[in-house]
Subunit: 360 residues, 2 copies
Amino acid sequence: MTHQAAISLGQSLRVLSEKPDDSAALVAADVPIGSHTDLSALREFAKECDAITFDHEHVPTGHIEALEAEGVKIFPGSKALVFAQDKGLMRERLAALGAPVPRWARVSTADEIETFAGGSWPVVAKATRGGYDGRGVWMVGSREAAEDLLSTGVQLIVEEKVPLRRELAALVARSPFGQVAAYPVVETVQRDGICVEVIAPAPGLGEERAIAAQQLAIDLATELGVVGLLAVELFETEAGIVVNELAMRPHNSGHWTIEGARTSQFEQHLRAVLDYPMGSTALAAPVVVMANVLGGEPGGIPLDERLHHLFAEIPDARVHLYGKQVRPGRKIGHVTVLGDSLDEVRARAVRAAQWLQEGK
Amino acid sequence: MTHQAAISLGQSLRVLSEKPDDSAALVAADVPIGSHTDLSALREFAKECDAITFDHEHVPTGHIEALEAEGVKIFPGSKALVFAQDKGLMRERLAALGAPVPRWARVSTADEIETFAGGSWPVVAKATRGGYDGRGVWMVGSREAAEDLLSTGVQLIVEEKVPLRRELAALVARSPFGQVAAYPVVETVQRDGICVEVIAPAPGLGEERAIAAQQLAIDLATELGVVGLLAVELFETEAGIVVNELAMRPHNSGHWTIEGARTSQFEQHLRAVLDYPMGSTALAAPVVVMANVLGGEPGGIPLDERLHHLFAEIPDARVHLYGKQVRPGRKIGHVTVLGDSLDEVRARAVRAAQWLQEGK
């Protein structure tokens, strides 16, 4: 999707890809194969690039620092990105900045987890690095469960289970010049730790709270020195909003912007990384709903045939397929629907994703 | 732009490109280099393709017929495409179908041209094959000019100079199944034979005439057996509409659909070629204006800097650059603006294109 945006801007996107059949490698024109954990591969890759950015957080921070020391232009830089890479550092920094965060602690023993819980199980344990889409997050309901988890050797933080009303996301982009553009705040609907729907703008969110969420994201982007996108995943509680996670790249909570906003998050990220002025974040319709397509059970109607049915039933559904092998629960695409009525748009988006997912 | 659409659909686009720095070759992942006039290159190319389509009309009809005879799936097929390739055959067929066309004749001598003119110069001479963007079209003002033109050996038809009020275009797509989807009729603004602006929907076009133009395009697509897009370029006169040209591919008059319609012409063309149901052609805003960016005079502010200024001034302008070398008068990109007010949207689109073109 970043390549689609690069094409419009007349930019040459070069992708370092681990495998030749990774999604981006299937569609980009210039795709050296190499691992993002191999410093020499990164160095070789960087030689032909004017600027480098990311579509995940898994490049080792030390490698990014090494390249920066050699003069490679990387956005977001390691000093910002580390707060999207390491949940412990993120929590410390956000607390220091006075941003609203759940009660949390770094832990390395079952005693520490039990003390943190204070008899109030479950607590949320998170791997400090490497998690995504619900991986690296565990509901820990007892001391025994805590011991089991620790025995895997994973570095952990624990957090209180926030009594949330729903989840929101505030997406902003910041250029090296310091311009920040904020998208409308969205609601993200989760199932089993995976985002299944994004509703823009977040229904029934008061203007005051929406502006507070945007301002929080703007402040964090500025304080952390982010260049590119910053997605701030939020819990909405009775009392207000609390920061759940940070991402500094095109994010699933912003896929709706491809058709639903005047400037897609992918173009916005490229504009920021290239230090162009930011594009308009205005909504393209009163209601925009994005529904993820997860891989279903093997068998059934082929994906191609599902697409036929979907196109026949909902001619204005905007489909994005990622060229990924279908595995149960894996995000293999998404569908976006625009319109005027929340209930109707949402029902059609969910129906469209369900067709692609289940073939019925 | 077709590649951008293919990415969303999860399709693998293979491009036969004459040169490695052609626009499509710069961005697509699978780009064998070869000439579209070389049958063996076409044959080799076709081996890896499920279906083949075109982004210009210049593949020799005989080559397409040869591949079809070998079982290659080509859309539009030679029997339809020839009417977009050969203006003489197009005029004959349209006349036979009863479609409104200018008075015309095939000519090969100055006497024939003089007889056709009947003292009423100028007449419009057109090369039967190979023209585009004003090339292959001449205003012939005298017998001497006719003789000069004939001396080049070009195959010609001549047409009356239609007393036109403005130019319109009707864009439809047709699937092999026979489904046809029609976009709103647009006004195309020409300068020196080159389209500079497209306004969707065509301002002040009555509903009756708009429907007549759409119906004409639907009928032609059906009668000619087109699969894929059919762009019908029209002259609007006091009396009604007259067909100027046909194109059977994504067309400049449809670039506005990328952001301005629910389904872009590029995706629609792919859907048709792949026999998917057609997408919604609904407008995404009340007014959509596309302005072409033509190459300006050499020198001046670099394109990159122009883009900075444009993005700062018009944050919602949607820019598409084609990665082409800048040559005066060459289409190197386009800009689309959406909104509610015709005058305001049009002024901003033209201003945006002018910035990119002239840097001021």
